[in-house]
Amino acid sequence: MNLMDPVQVFRMEAAELFVVIEEGLLDLLGDLSNQAQIDAVFRGLHTLKGSGSMFGFEALAAFTHHCETAFDRVRKGEVPATAELVAAVLEAQDHMKALVDTPNGDHEATGNGLLAKLQAAVGAKAAQGCVVAAPLPAAVAGTSSAAAPAATRWRLRFRLPVNAMANGTNPLGLLDELADLGDCTIKADTSAIPSLDAIEPDDLHIGWTVELTTTQPQPRAAIEDVFIFVMDDMEMVLEEVSSAPAPAVASAPTPALAPTSVALPLADAAPSEPARAVNTAPAIADAKQTKPAAENVRVPAERLDELMDRVGELVIAQSRLSQLAGVSADIQLRSVSEDVERLSGELRDTMMVLRMVPVGSLFGRFRRLVHDLARETGKEIELVTEGETTEVDKTVIERLADPLVHLVRNSIDHGLEMPEDRLASGKARAGRVTLSARQAGGEVIITIRDDGRGIDRERVRAKAEASGLIQPGQMLLDQELLQLILQPGFSTAAQITSLSGRGVGMDVVKKTVEALRGVIDMQSTPGEGSEISLRIPLTLAIIDGLLVRVGTGSYVIPLSAVEECLELSAEEDLRSRGRSFISLRDHLVPFLRLRELFRTGTPPDRYQKMVVISTGNERVGLVVDQIIGDHQTVIKAMSKLHHDVVTFSGATILGDGNVALILDVTHLVTVGQQQEAQLRAAG
């Protein structure tokens, strides 16, 4: 299926709309006064009609229009929703499906029968109205004065509504358009501009007089067309000033500015299809027999994982092929290798998209949780979700579920105040918890925000000192202090309630997020609330990596964490010996010699390179022997035997069959920062 074809997209969309409409109708059968469902059905029919007419499904649009009209009347309370009407629209829906599947089939008799039922259900007037026409002719017809080939001269005085600029109309654009019609002289009338202290910068107080000589065949229509969007609200006098025989000018050319009512004939389609008479008994059976082919296929998640594994293997095999072809003189082999490289890259990208699911499926679970928590705590809570359509790798969604539950519980339990306390501090009675997701670069950012009391920094400090996480009186940056909450064995709740402090703790949240190669940012303003953001890479299975060599081993650094690469000159290396700091644009950045960390034992390369990596605001340099280049890295988990290895987050297979270990950036940055802290404490 070609996803770039709007008609195909429309068919898929129609299938989804049918589900919405059907669910709405079925719900209505249970509760005929359900306004939300009436609106939903109306909206579904409306979209189906509008989109259908766009893509050449005119019969569908025309038929759906009648159902929409019927539901519009229900929506406006003109007729009640009845079981009969719902049943008629349900039947009509099957017909609409047939119109989507075979737009050119002979459906008229069936359609007429159904419309008759619909009419009977809402009273005779429902099925009247217009049929959606084919794409509109030019919106303006205008009064046509004689189609003079010669130039005509016009004088136009106009004044736009005062709020025209605030509403997005650019008067200069309109003057430009007039100038495009022919020679013109433009005079501004500034008499209505108020004094400087009374002026509102967005208001428009200028009027214009334009004298225009044009050879347009229908000058009046062309001029009026310029003002199409503001015509109804503006003052305009348009008169022909040439000495040619006076054409029949509709509006009286009075010298004073008078509002005209040159209503634009907006081509209201003629009510061309009056309700057709009842003729045949509906033959709905055949509409039902042609079952529409499903445009979406449901696949078990494991299959996708298998496919992902295969794609991973393919990417590895392809990089071996590229390596072989690279050293070969065989032009044909090289050409095939390039093709395979391109194809496997595309396959990988497609695969990534297949694994993405909207984060809304995750957010959906929180409505119930918040409802239960509100009852349990006696707090009033409003849950707001934003960015539900943001797509995230399905594995990420599965693994984030528990941490998010914990964070939302925490926000409600520790963050939000009781309704009376909120009122006392001038806040709305109901606390608000906002869950939002958005994509930024290669990351998805999931934010949990509450408007509660904020994190009590003094209590965090006291608790951290009591549990030995920090030295009494130790100086901490605000971010460092807040991050203490994520340490194992930390809980600020004075008494542990039944809600928080159960199941996973904040340290588990931190571990999960880090296992997803994500980071946690925290912000909190006392009295105003807290915000915790989880920044997670969009996908897990394949990453862009930077391949480096340390000693004889190859290692991969996730490219998303790499800030820059630089050369560590011999002098700088010597100078920094024992301190392991480099001054980078006036910032001291600690660095780690991976040769020492990995105890390589081989003599170092003469020119050492440094890769500066970062997580959040913290940076650390990694000294390596050689930077090989970027590498499509298929991540393989390490075996259970290695689960306690902290320096590496996984492994990958290189084109030549060798294994490269993937460096755990978060861990290395922490080690680097500890080194900095020790030095600071010592110095």
């Binding site: 989109s51 109309t169 967005d202 359509t389």
Partner: protein
């Protein structure tokens, strides 16, 4: 820099058609799926124009236009709405809410581009 247009529509096919038409004419396009999404994107980015459907779930186009016009940063940005002929009433309301102009559905892509050029000026 080509002008950046935000299109707001719950219909994927309409979004795709507008995107194809507008990117084909050299504009940058960002899409939103309903009023809530549209409002968030409009407030989070810098756009030269907004094209929006009126009838959408979660937040309809009218409410979105009102909310945008209420924010000082978004007065003056042209907002064009898509309307069918059957919503004459909606059209009047959208204009009152502060919309700049409209396009009648079904529209042909050239008409959209023409109106975009008209509204964005030279």
């Amino acid at each position: 820099m080509s002008a950046h247009i935000l299109t707001v529509d719950d219909s994927a096919s309409i979004r795709m058609t507008t995107r194809i038409a507008l990117t084909g004419a050299g504009y940058q396009v960002t899409e939103a799926v309903d009023g809530v999404d549209g409002l968030a994107k409009a407030k989070g980015g810098r756009f030269d124009m907004i094209v929006t459907d009126l009838n959408m779930p979660n937040m309809n186009g009218l409410a979105m236009i009102q909310a945008l016009r209420a924010s000082p940063a978004h007065t003056g940005i042209p907002i064009i709405f898509l309307t069918t002929e059957s919503d004459a009433e909606m059209k009047a309301q959208a204009k009152a809410a502060g919309a700049t102009g409209w396009i009648t559905k079904p529209f042909d892509p050239e008409q959209l581009v023409k109106i975009t050029r008209k509204v964005l000026g030279k």
